[in-house]
């Protein structure tokens, strides 16, 4: 009697444990189903997000930034800055950013060659001051501000453009730093002989819009993937950009042919 009672109690306990375990397993399984569905949901949400974003981005991409016109005076022609004789046999396009270290290396290496090619009428130098490294100046949009100043110099004192271009690269700030302040940009302009009337025009809204437009157009229309990019008569120069000589030789070659 006692024995059988014990066994019954034991059996009852085992049965209860089994039921509890089953209930626990069922609960975990239910939660697992919810968790798995959530995972699928998160993935789906992420995919939808990326797709929507891409589609919207592509739509945005189709609408070109409105052409921003500024007075085409001085060296400004269309959306470029042109230095040298209009009828020069070679057109040399330089796509550059004042924040980009390689652009600085390019300019410092080829400065004398470019000046000479312009001076002797071999080439007309077309400068595209782009602002694609705006994100790399700790929020100060240095690329835009410097390009803006260069465009203004090109408009009102085109003969000072190359000198200003050169000093901007001589004093080039480190990529990722705040860049030069507006006062420093003005100071450097003054140092190369730009007068105060021109300097006071630095930072005009219309010039800023112009720089944004020409940056956008360089990527969209001219297929520029990075800076510096140099084109000789419309064809990208693939040679050594960072030492004096090769570019000049290629320009003279193009002039001869």
């Amino acid at each position: 009697m006692t024995m059988s009672n014990k066994t019954r109690a034991q059996r009852l306990r085992l049965e209860q444990e089994r039921l509890a375990k089953e209930a626990q397993e069922a609960r975990e399984k239910r939660i697992r189903t919810i968790v798995m569905i959530s995972v699928v949901g998160v993935v789906a949400l992420a995919l939808v997000g990326v797709v929507v974003w891409t589609v919207l981005g592509a739509k945005r991409g189709q609408e070109p930034v409105a052409a921003a016109q500024i007075a085409e005076i001085g060296a400004v022609q269309g959306r470029t800055l042109v230095v040298g004789q209009q009828d020069a046999p070679v057109t040399l396009d330089v796509y550059q950013d004042y924040m980009c270290p390689y652009c600085g290396q390019f300019e410092r290496a080829n400065r004398a060659d470019l000046q000479q090619l312009v001076d002797d009428g071999s080439a007309r130098l077309v400068i595209h001051p782009l602002a694609f490294l705006d994100a790399q100046s700790a929020g100060t949009n240095y690329s835009s501000r410097a390009a803006n100043a260069a465009v203004t110099v090109a408009q009102y004192q085109p003969d000072k453009l190359l000198a200003y271009n050169a000093i901007l690269y001589d004093r080039q700030p480190a990529e990722g730093s705040e860049g030069l302040s507006n006062e420093q940009l003005a100071e450097l302009a003054r140092a190369v002989g730009v007068d105060d009337a021109t300097i006071q025009r630095f930072g005009a809204d219309e010039t800023t819009a112009f720089v944004a437009w020409l940056t956008d157009a360089a990527f969209r229309n001219d297929g520029i993937k990075g800076t510096p990019t140099v084109k000789i008569n419309g064809k990208i120069f693939g040679g050594d950009l960072y030492s004096a000589g090769p570019l000049k030789a290629a320009v003279l070659d193009a002039k001869g042919s």
């Binding site: 697992r32 798995m36 993935v43 592509a58 994100a135 990527f219 993937k225």
Partner: protein, 206 residues
């Protein structure tokens, strides 16, 4: 539906699946470390070298590779990957072959890999917000490190290799049984992708 989910769950608990994932991810990580090491050597010889992965201003391993963060300990970080990933590969292959490592060994592996995991994300955040450029191979390292860390942690929680207090350990194991690990990793990776898109989306497609 629940049947399919159950089968996926079963598969995910299978040693073959876990260690295959670990092996695959570690191989990816090793490959990326090789490329990054080779790039580091190229960049050391010529800081202006044009690398194949300089896709645009955002995706640029030249910018990332020449930063101080890329050689935190005085040599390229990728060398650490060259040293560490083969160990993971060995663990994965041995485990696939049926070897069961001692608990202490697995604990050590977990500790070292956790340091690597933290380091990978420190680098990711440095690249995102400090350097201002991402490099494709570094992103591959970030992803594969996450996957290796996930599978290693999965094994170590399941096999109770971490010498955790009983309640913590059983809570974590219950979490595994309910598949919470996938949810955490999925949300984590989705957040990383969202972060990249939020910060660099426009420039990525440019």
């Amino acid at each position: 539906m629940t049947d399919l989910l159950d089968r996926i769950h079963q598969l995910r608990q299978d040693n073959r699946w876990i260690f295959s994932t670990m092996l695959f991810s570690a191989c990816l990580s090793l490959l990326a470390s090789f490329v990054l090491s080779a790039d580091a050597v190229t960049l050391a010889a010529d800081p202006d070298a044009a690398l194949s992965c300089n896709l645009n201003t955002v995706l640029s391993c030249g910018t990332v590779g020449t930063s101080w963060q890329a050689s935190l300990f005085g040599f390229p970080n990728a060398f650490l990957g060259l040293a560490a990933e083969p160990v993971v590969i060995t663990i994965a292959v041995a485990s696939l072959a049926g070897v069961v490592f001692p608990r202490g060994f697995m604990l050590a592996a977990q500790l070292v890999y956790t340091i690597g995991f933290v380091f990978a994300y420190w680098l990711f955040f440095q690249a995102m917000f400090g350097i201002g450029a991402l490099c494709p191979w570094c992103l591959l390292v970030t992803l594969s490190t996450t996957l290796v860390f996930t599978s290693l942690t999965h094994v170590n929680i399941r096999d109770d290799n971490l010498f955790l207090p009983m309640p913590v350990s059983s809570a974590l194991q219950a979490g595994l049984r309910m598949g919470l690990d996938v949810l955490v990793v999925t949300i984590w990776l989705a957040a990383v992708v969202a972060l990249i898109f939020w910060k660099y989306g426009a420039a990525l497609l440019a």
